[in-house]
Symmetry: C2
C-alpha cells in the first residue's frame, strides 16, 4: 500500500480510502490510485485489516473425522455453502478419530482467530475449549456430542434409527438379528448399539451378546465375524450395519454368496439402490447435518445467546430390498 501511495503521489490513507470505497476522494485522484494498484498488482492484506479493525477474520474452522469419507465431504459441502452466503471462508482439517489431532486442529484454528468452530469430536474431552468459548468463540459440535462441556450440538437420531431397523427386520420374521458396529467408544457407535438393544427388546426377540460385534472393523474382521455369525448354532438371519463403511465391508464379504442374510445399513450411500439386492438403509442427510450446525453457529455469531441447544435430526428407513428378505 505504501508503494501504491508513493507511485500515485498520495498518502497511504488515501489509498486505503480508495480500496475501501470510502467517499471523499476526488475522482481523478482515485483514478491515479487505481492505476497504481493495477500496475503494482497490489492486493490488500486481509490479516492486517482484520487485526487493525479488531473485527471478524471471516473464517470458520471445521474439524471433522475424514474429508475423504463421502458422509463428511457432504457435510463439508453444506458448511461451505452456507459460509459462502455469509461471506466466510472455511478452514478444515481431519482428525482421523485422534483426540489429540482434533484438539491440535481446533486450537490452531483458535490461534487463527476463526469466527466460530464446527467440530465432529473424536474424543470425549473438550474442556480445552472452555477458555475459547468463554472468550466468545462459538462452538457447535456435530454428529457427536462434546464430552465434558455444554455446547450446541447437532446429532442424528441414532437410537431411533437402529430401533427402526431392528423392528423392520423383526416384522419380516427375523429373530436372530446381528449388529456390527464401530468402536464402542465412538458416540454414534454406542448409541446405535443402544438402539439395537432396545429394538431387540421391543420386538420381543431378546438381546444376545453373541450377535454383537463392535469394532474397530476392517474388511477382514467383518468377513471373519460374518463367518462366525452364519455358522453358529442358531445362525443370524439378518444384520444391522453400524455405518456406511461397515455396510460396504459386509457387502464385499457377501459378494457371490448365495445364502445372504437380510441387511439394513446405517447411513445411506451412493449406488445403494443399484446393487443386487438394493440395500435397505437408515438414511439421514449429511448436508442437512452440516446446514443445521452451520445455521446454529451463525445464529450465535448474530448474537443469539440463549442456552445451548441440542438438535436431533430425524432419520428414515429406506426399504430397497436387502432388508425385506423374510427369515
Amino acid at each position: 500500500m505504501n508503494d501504491v501511495a508513493r507511485l500515485a503521489g498520495v498518502s497511504i490513507k488515501t489509498v486505503s480510502r480508495v480500496v475501501n470505497d470510502e467517499p471523499g476522494v476526488h475522482p481523478s485522484t482515485a483514478e491515479r490510485v487505481l492505476a497504481a494498484i493495477d500496475q503494482l498488482g497490489f492486493r490488500r492484506n486481509l490479516s492486517a485489516r482484520n487485526l487493525r479493525r479488531g473485527s471478524s477474520t471471516g473464517t470458520i474452522g471445521l474439524v471433522l473425522e475424514d474429508v475423504g469419507n463421502p458422509f463428511y465431504s457432504g457435510v463439508t459441502r453444506a458448511v461451505e455453502e452456507i459460509a459462502r452466503l455469509r461471506g466466510r471462508q472455511v478452514i478444515s482439517g481431519s482428525s482421523d478419530e485422534d483426540p489429540g489431532r482434533e484438539r491440535e486442529l481446533a486450537l490452531e484454528f483458535c490461534s487463527r482467530r476463526v469466527d466460530g468452530l464446527l467440530i465432529v469430536p473424536a474424543g470425549l474431552q473438550h474442556s480445552y475449549l472452555v477458555p475459547e468459548m468463554r472468550a466468545g468463540t462459538p462452538v457447535v459440535f456435530l454428529d457427536r456430542p462434546a464430552g465434558d462441556v455444554v455446547a450446541d450440538t447437532v446429532l442424528v437420531d441414532n437410537i431411533g434409527g437402529t430401533v427402526e431397523a431392528v423392528t423392520h427386520l423383526a416384522s419380516h420374521g427375523h429373530r436372530r438379528i446381528a449388529f456390527l458396529g464401530d468402536a464402542p467408544d465412538i458416540f454414534t457407535a454406542n448409541e446405535r448399539l443402544r438402539g439395537y438393544r432396545e429394538g431387540c427388546v421391543r420386538a420381543g426377540i431378546g438381546y444376545h451378546e453373541e450377535l454383537v460385534a463392535m469394532g474397530p472393523h476392517d474388511e477382514s474382521s467383518v468377513a471373519t465375524t460374518l463367518q462366525r455369525l452364519q455358522t453358529m448354532r442358531e445362525p443370524a438371519t439378518a444384520i444391522v450395519a453400524g455405518n456406511n463403511r461397515i455396510t460396504v465391508y459386509i457387502l464385499r464379504a457377501l459378494a457371490g454368496v448365495a445364502e445372504r442374510p437380510a441387511l439394513v445399513g446405517f447411513d445411506d450411500f451412493e449406488l445403494a439402490d443399484l446393487l443386487s439386492p438394493p440395500v435397505t438403509v437408515i438414511a439421514h442427510d449429511a448436508s442437512a447435518l452440516g446446514k443445521a450446525a452451520t445455521d446454529l453457529l451463525f445464529a450465535r455469531l448474530d448474537g443469539d445467546n440463549s442456552p445451548p441447544r441440542r438438535v436431533v435430526l430425524p432419520v428414515r428407513l429406506v426399504p430397497r430390498g436387502s432388508g425385506e428378505v423374510h427369515a
Copy 2:
C-alpha cells in the same frame, strides 16, 4: 498478551519470550507468566505474529470444483495430509464450475496471503493470477491446465485412458462404440473426447458423430441419449462414459434393462466391483493427483524455481465385467 504481562508483572516482551520458548528468561519468571497465560486463557494471535514476522501464514488455498464429489474429496484429503506434514493449514472452496467463483476464491485466498494455491480450474482465463505469481505465490493447477498462463500443472492421462477404453472394447468385437462426455469446454471432457476419437481411428472402426453426446448431462439427458443410441439404425453396442457422474447416470438408466451395452467408465468409484455386472473403469488415483500437486507446490515453496512443469499421471484400465461383454 498485554493482560498477561500485567498480571504476571512483567513486560509484554517477556511474555513473548516465554510463549516462543526463547532463552534468557528466569525459570521463576517463566512460571509466573505461564500461570497468567493459563488463568487468562491467552492464545497468541497468529495473524499478528505472521504480520510482524513477514513470514509465511502457514496456509495453502485449495480451489476445487465440488468437495462433495468423492473424486475431489479424495484430492482434498491428500492435500490436507501433506500440508499437515509440512505444518500448513488448508483453506478450501468449491467453484461449481463457475469461472467467476473460481477467481473470487483464488483472489480471496491471495488476500489472506496463503503460501500457495492449488487450483482445479473452472475457466480458461487465469491471467488474473499473474500479479500474484509474479509476487511470489506459487500456483499449481490440477486435473486441468490453466487457460492462459504458464504454470505447474498435474494432469491425468485423459487421452491415453480413453484410447485404451475404446481399444479394449474394440478388441471384444465392438464396432459401434458411443461416448458420453461432459461439457466440451471442460478440458478433461475435451481431452477424453479426443482420446475417444483417436481410439476409434486406431481401432479402424471410424469416428461417427452420431455416437457422441457431450454434456452438460444430468440423469434424464443421459437416459434420453441412451434411448437414442440403442434405437438408431445401427445401435451402439458399447459405451464409454466420460466421468464418474455420467457413469452413474448410465447405470441408473440401464437398471433393469436386459439387453445392456458394454460399458467402460472414466474414473473409478466405490462399489464399482459389487455391481452386476461389475463396472470396468479407467482408474486413476485422486490421492495421487492431490499428492503430486501438493508436492510440486511445496517444492516451489522450498525454492525450486526451475521452469514450470507439467506432470501427467498414468491411468489404468481395470476390467471387471461390464467392458468385457462381446458384441
